[in-house]
Every structure is written in structure tokens, then in C-alpha cells.
Amino acid sequence: MHNSNRGGPVDPDGAAVISVDSLAKEYRVYDKPEGLLASVTGLFHRTSRLVEALRGVNLSVGKGEFVALLGPNGAGKTTFLKLLSGIITPSRGTAHVLGHVPWERDDDFRRRFALVMGQRNQLWWDLPAAESFRLHKEIYRIDSARFERTRDELVDLLDVRRLMLQPVRELSLGERMKLELVAALLHEPEVLFLDEPTIGLDVVAQHTIHNFLKTVQAERRVTVVLTTHYMKDVAALCERVVVITHGSILHDGPLEEIVDRFTTHKIVTLDLDATPAPGQMERFGFPCEIRGPRVTLRIDRTRIADVLPEILRSESVRDFSVEDVPLEEIVAELFRAAPVPSVSHASVVEATA
């Protein structure tokens, strides 16, 4: 496992749509002590900590790439997206998105990207989404013909035409998210930032959104950066995965590379003729589960080519499958094993103004 903040793959068109150099963001957070006395004392003296949300990150994303940002809660993924979309300014480092410095908030830049946050509602709550779309048209200066064409395409792709005239507050979470995506794409952005777009959605809604995003990305060559905790999103959508832990990039590369780099085992499932005797299967690998004649073994990847023929030779196998360790497990292990950075969360005591 290495801890590098290297740039990403070479852009197929030769120019990076997103380029990030040594980007860092620090926050000062104030501790709120418990108890009445401590609260009163806190009016005059407060203890603060410097939290490094992002630590000198480097990244390059080419046109049309679909990149997943993975990381545990508090790893810095959303902070990274907020910096790339110009919502907050960095403490150090630089970034360019579509040739613009995001936090300068040029209108030319803001017209060319969109941000969708799964946990925040950006549509007018009490009104039908059609009203928000109309406002969007004015804000992004979309001419009427183009607006209608794009809106119709998007609502048909997501099958939400009938929902456009219903007040947003009356819609389900999945329906709302679909309309949020329509609103975000009305101005045909070149870059799309998605912050947990499938959070809380059922599998059907997740699947619909996966298909929608795949179609949009393929047809329009939109560059997409996605943060998520769902490996299904990653497996369905992203060719490239960037793993962030403790504000640093731990891994940047194709999804398969994570599996290759961070797993040492394969999972072999066997359907035998009869329940094996105790200890019978341990010579092949670690038995994860034995349920009657069905046995699940964890076998070292380097031995799999030798062990599998041996099993088939020596045991009565009716059926078998060989799979990688589930992505969730790999990523969870990756997060657990990530090195904790050296002390820079220094506590300093400050007097309030």
C-alpha cells in the first residue's frame, strides 16, 4: 500500500479538464465543553483545533472521465468537491477546472459545470420542479428551443415528465433526486460534480440513476466526479477510483487496480455432493462458511491456479464459482489500514474577541 498523491491518468484529449496541485484546506474548529460552568467560561476562553480537511492533494482528470472519490466519513471528499466547485477557498495550493480557478467564481466557469448534492434540496420546495427549471433557464441564459429540447430529453430518460408539475415537497426522495439531476443538466454542463447522489435511494431508483448517468456521460462526454459510499455506484459507473483518507489520496487508478493491489485472496464457493467432514477443506484454504454441502473458501490468489484443480480432482464438486473479495470489504479494509497522519491537529488555546 502506498500513500501517494500522484496525478491521474493521461487525458485522452491531451488537456486536463480538472487539474489540482497541492490543494489543502484547513479549518479551525472550536471545542464546546460540556456543562454550564464550562459554557460560561467558554464565552471568554475557547479551545480550538486546526483540522486539516485536505492535505496537499494533486489530481488530474481528463475530458469525459467518470471518477469516483471514495473515502470514509470525514475523509475530505466533500471538501474537495466544494473546492473544485468554488464554494470554499483553499488554505494552500491551486486548482483549475475548465481552465478557471473555481473560487474566483467567474460566471463563465459557473455556466459550464453543475453540482448535485444528494443530501441537499436545490429545487423550490413548495413549487413544482417545472418552476425551478424555468428559473434555471433564466439564470443560465438557455434559449427557449434548447431548454425545451434538453428538458424533454432528460425527463424522458428518467421517466419523470408526469412529476414535473407536482410540488417538490410531495415527491419521494428518489423522484426528487431524479428531478434534481434534470435541473443540474439543463444547461448541459461540461463537468458534473455529484456528492452522494444515490444516498437513501432504493435499488430501483439507484439503478435508474446509474443508467441515466451512464447515458448522459457517454452521449455528452461530460466529465463526472462522484463521491459515494455505495460500491454499486462505483462498479456501475466509474472507470477510475480515487481513494481519500485523512485528507490525502491513498489510491488513484482503475477500479480493478484496487482489487489487484489491495486483495490477496479470492473467494471460492463449492457445491459438493455431501457435507464435508470437519477439517476436510482446510488444506485448500480458510473456510469462511460451511453450510451443508455448500462451502465458501478464502484462498490465496497466488495459489488459486494450483489449488482449484486439486479440489476438483479430490472432491466431488457439482458446481463452483471463483470471485474477488466483495468491493465493500476491500474498501473497508483499505480505510481501516490507511495510515493516520502525524500530529498536526495541534490544539491551541485562544481568547475570544
Binding site: I87, R105, A114, W124, L127, E131, E138, P167
Partner: protein, 272 residues
Amino acid sequence: MNRYLSILATFARACLVRDMTFRANFLLECVTSLGWMSMNLAFYLLIFTFTSEIGKNTGWSKEPFFAFVATGLIINSIVQALFMPSAEELTEMVRTGGLDAVLVQPLDAQFMLSMHRVDFSSFANGLVGVGLLGWAVSRMDYQPSPVAWLLYPLLILCGVAILYSLIIMLAAATILLGRNQSLYDFWFYLTNFSRYPAEIYSGPWGGPIRMLCTFVIPILLVVNVPARVIAMPLSGEAWGLVAAALIAATASLLISRLVFQAALAKYRSASS
């Protein structure tokens, strides 16, 4: 400019649609607002049963004073309808991170944050204010000149601009502090000073308040200047006040713009 007007019209349209969706709430707001205003007017009528003038030799007898009150109603209704609902919502937007969505849109954030909500029920007071102004002016001994009538809407706009700037400064404080639920209260306390003729602020306590509220936070210019122009002859002092209102409005808009931009640069956003 056309785009911003068009967006403002879209905001207004959406707010009207929403108000009409909750019609009972809309009517209740109108009634509450008109009820509060009626109580104020009754209170002033009561005062004039004991005195013929607010302050000795100030010129604020009953009809000119009601022209003053009407001017205040018009200015306040414009501010309450166009800017205050958005400002009140800002605290929640900063606390929950809703401001993020505004900052990614290709639109001036100050415009978006100060005008995205229009409260149509507040215009009810303004309409009553216009009626009250007509009634008061028609009963005054002095009749305003055409120049005074031309200056009056301009000075109303100056008053609105000064109050708007104050709101923007308080909004900037909200962005910096992350939470500022006393925004509306503070605005109400400050604007309370503007609800009475400047002449009442005299003596050892009143004098400093008058200086502070004219030159530091020019709240006393908001209603006093347009009301004086319409209710009293245009003297040399009145022309000085007109110039002061114009300068104060321009300076307030510029300063509040700078403060707001500085606050936005320091915006931290909320955790998701």
C-alpha cells in the same frame, strides 16, 4: 440588467404561485400586517388628541406627521416585501449549507440572496401608506411643489437603499458567524429610530443619537428626508438633507457590497 429583471420576475412569479397555494396563510399575513399598522395609526391619532404638534415648533402637526408615517409605511413595505424574507432565510441557508447551491450559479450571489423571496402580503401596508399619504397631503395647509413630487420617489429609493444596505451588512455577519438568528431583531431595533421625526432627538441624550443615526448609521435619513420634502417647504436645510440622503444611500450600497463580498470569501459551508 434585463436578465436580472427577468430573474426577479421569475422569483416574484414563483412566490406569488406559492402564496396562492397557501391562500389562507397569505390572507392571514395581510390581515395581521394591516391590523398591526391600524393599531399604530390609532396610537398616533390618540397622541394628537393631547397635542397639536410632535415637538414644539417642529412643523410636525397632525397632517404632516401622517405624511411622515405614510412615507415610513411605503419604505418599510418595499423592504419587507422585497428583501427581508430572503434575509431571514439566509441564517438557515448558512447553517445548513443551502448557500452552497447559490454560490455555484452564474448569478450575483448578493442579488440572489437578497431578492429570491418576495412577500406580497407586505405590499398591503404600502398600498395603505399611499392612500394615507394622499389623505394627509390633501388636508395639509402647505401643498408640495412639482419639484418635491419629483424628488419624493427618488428619496424613497434612497431610504430603501439605506435599509437594504443594513440588511446586507447583517447578512454578511450571518455568513461570518455561521449563525445570526437575532438578525431580524437587530434590524427592528435599529429601524425603530427611523420611525420618528429627527427633531425629537434633541438634548443631552437625543443629540448624540441623532448624530450617530445620521452620520454613522444613516437611519434617520431614511424616512425623514422624503417626508420632509413632501410635507414642508424646500428650504436650504432640506436641500442639504436631500444631498445627504443621496450620498448616504450611495455610500451604504458600496460599503455593504464590499463587506458582503469579503464575507462570501470567508464562507466555510456546512458539513454535508
